[in-house]
Symmetry: C2
Subunit: 272 residues, 2 copies
Amino acid sequence: MARLVRELMQQTGAAPSDCLGVGIGCPGTIDAISGRVIYSNNLAGRVDIPLAESIASALQLPVRISNDANYAALGECVAGAARGCRSAVLLTLGTGVGGGVVWDGKVFEGGPGGMELGHTLLRTGGEPCTCGRKGCVEAYCSATALIRDAARAARSQPQSRLNQLCGSDLSRMNGKIPFDAAQAGDPAAQEVIADYLHHLGEAVTDMVNIFRPEIVLLSGGICAQGAVLTEPLNRYVQEHAFAGRWLKTPPVCIAGLGADAGLIGAACLLDG
Amino acid sequence: MARLVRELMQQTGAAPSDCLGVGIGCPGTIDAISGRVIYSNNLAGRVDIPLAESIASALQLPVRISNDANYAALGECVAGAARGCRSAVLLTLGTGVGGGVVWDGKVFEGGPGGMELGHTLLRTGGEPCTCGRKGCVEAYCSATALIRDAARAARSQPQSRLNQLCGSDLSRMNGKIPFDAAQAGDPAAQEVIADYLHHLGEAVTDMVNIFRPEIVLLSGGICAQGAVLTEPLNRYVQEHAFAGRWLKTPPVCIAGLGADAGLIGAACLLDG
């Protein structure tokens, strides 16, 4: 990573004195204060490495580090769909469900191991989650969960369009097929999507009841669905959030920067 | 309220110049920035009154206002069971379930209508909650919920000690009887308590996964049970929290200041 930064500096002709520092967004459990990566599935489980210190010593530049979803939320506030907002909650709907919170214009870190918004419950004793619990948001709202439920529906209803669209090979099921099949009027797919939206509505309502941010953002491949997601979600949240009758609820929107959100957020971090 | 403050100042011989100001802890949805009480069940629903401004103008003193559970959490950090902690989450287990969060030594307010930690889900579609949703923490972990479940068990198992202890008058069921009956070996009561502890364990695990505070505190009448609550809860959280295998989870303890916590917290608020 340090070598890559040096190469980039050479390519752009930037001297170390031109750089405020290096911001690192990393998946998993980060201790932002000590700059350590404590635990990350994507870096072989328990690691506990002093990543910030290592990179700082190699480059002789200040380094700050946080969870990648935190930075994506910050990037969206600086230059994306939450531009101008001082607070936002971002949920990333991918293989898992990540969460990032910006409060008062800054990343809200929580303690190390916290801000795992995808690992809060929707249904105690429900679907098994990657974290070892049962019934977490991740187990219902990730793309993985949607694919699981679509494959189940296809298996139990072989005449469904869900089967046709993956050529009767359920290993080819993806997060787009159930939306396409539902749109084409397939009842099995419509049930899968209704369930998915219900669970996502509940998850977003929880985030609203906890933080009441100015905006809630969703990112990840599923968000290509746009208003198919956000219209029912906005209705759901207004109807179900605490005191939703009296208080306007924050808008639920699709994030705007894709994979750049984390880069922009990590770069901004050296500002504050 | 202003009259009461004036009387207290007279009784103690304090001049307005001796007072830093007035801190008000109020149940319900507070906008701490504008100082308005927006919504409170205990103040006739929707109120939207500028309480801070009214009291400030009557007393000619600065006024700050927040939700009462927030102040209780702050009070516990200053002078109670969380003394010395810079972060804490407090759940109040009473008629409902309130929540307060202290972060970096200060009340973390969230936006108006937020920090409703009792109105996050444990079971989508579950028991009806006072907020209109189904399956919230409040619908399983409040004293009201425990009493409901104990009365149900007593009704379906008339030979149970639960019935004996309330003289077969279920309107006399309270939050202590199911613990007493369980301790005396009554199977129906033991099941009620096991369920209650399971749900409370799930709720606290969620708070740990979201905030990862230094400590989690419980308050309310049920907390007279002491270690009967905290021992199983601490085991549950260590076992089920995110990365609990790798990271020590925060201790779950009983709050120390009772009803004084909110008073102390509200007084401290003028400090920051």
